[in-house]
């Protein structure tokens, strides 16, 4: 596979690992020195990202779905529209994007741009497009 089709399959694999909290699996997609500028954290390095997500996963179940995907033919970049669904598994009063209580749900649509080198993310940046919160389950 090559170009957009191959990149989409590769990105699908990344999100599959991410959504099942397979840290070794999705961590393998990051360059050692990846720059991550997300909605809830700005960190540098694979280890720092994984540490951040290990904290996140103690409080939240997180699922990311692709709504729109565009990949560069030279595989250097992805721009995607992503839907993120969060369910709090315990209270997180200090949550960076706003406190959540156990059972609370939050959905957001975010635009993200991924810079890629040798099939590793070197930089990830996101922008929030919309956000909605639900009642406790």
């Amino acid at each position: 596979m090559s170009g957009q089709t191959g990149l989409r399959a590769w990105f699908d694999d990344y999100l599959t690992a991410f959504n099942r909290a397979d840290f070794a699996g999705f961590g393998a997609f990051y360059h050692d020195d990846v720059i991550f500028a997300g909605q809830a954290a700005q960190v540098t390095g694979r280890g720092a990202i994984l540490e951040f997500y290990r904290t996140v996963r103690t409080y939240l179940h997180e699922k990311v779905e692709i709504l729109t995907f565009l990949g560069a033919p030279d595989e250097s970049r992805i721009i995607a529209e992503l839907k993120t669904s969060l369910v709090a598994v315990q209270d997180w009063p200090e949550m960076p994007t706003g406190a959540m209580e156990k059972g609370g749900v939050r959905e957001s649509v975010n635009f993200a741009i991924y810079d890629i080198s040798d099939r590793r993310f070197t930089r990830i940046r996101t922008a929030n497009f919309s956000r909605s919160s639900g009642a406790r389950r």
């Binding site: 729109t68 565009l70 560069a72 721009i79 635009f111």
Partner: protein, 133 residues
């Protein structure tokens, strides 16, 4: 002409403030959601909004990245507003003459034929840059 070429023409028309040329890029019922979340529906609403901005501030947009497939185009944009006068009610925040406001954003453009039907933008970085003393 590719979608990317057409998009760069659109940005050139935008930067030049060529409204007559600009509206040709929009479908009549185009829906634009700008980075602040405000929605503008229809060509005239967009032209009215940006005409007001243009009267208050000089805005330049630079395309940093652009990808397209099918009927969708996505872009990373860098944009700067330079206040031409004091603007206490400017769209993003009060500005004094000479102040600058920088925005780094991602945007998705849906199109049919040669016209945009939906445009959605979200902001990654915002920086207020006051005029140096």
């Amino acid at each position: 002409m590719t979608a990317e070429d057409r998009f760069r023409d659109y940005i050139a028309a935008f930067n030049a403030g060529e409204w007559d040329r600009l509206v040709e890029f929009y479908a009549p019922d185009v829906r634009l959601v700008i980075g602040s979340g405000r929605a503008l529906v229809g060509r005239q609403a967009i032209v009215d909004f940006y005409s007001e901005v243009k009267a208050q501030a000089r805005r330049t947009i630079e395309v940093l990245a652009c990808l397209s497939e099918g009927n969708v185009l996505a872009a990373e944009l860098e944009s700067e507003f330079l206040a031409l006068r004091d603007i206490p009610d400017f769209a993003v925040r009060p500005m004094n003459e000479g102040d600058r406001y920088y925005i780094n954003s991602l945007a998705f453009y849906d199109f049919a034929g040669d016209q945009f039907t939906r445009i959605r933008a979200a902001t990654m970085v915002r920086e207020y840059r006051p005029r140096p003393e």
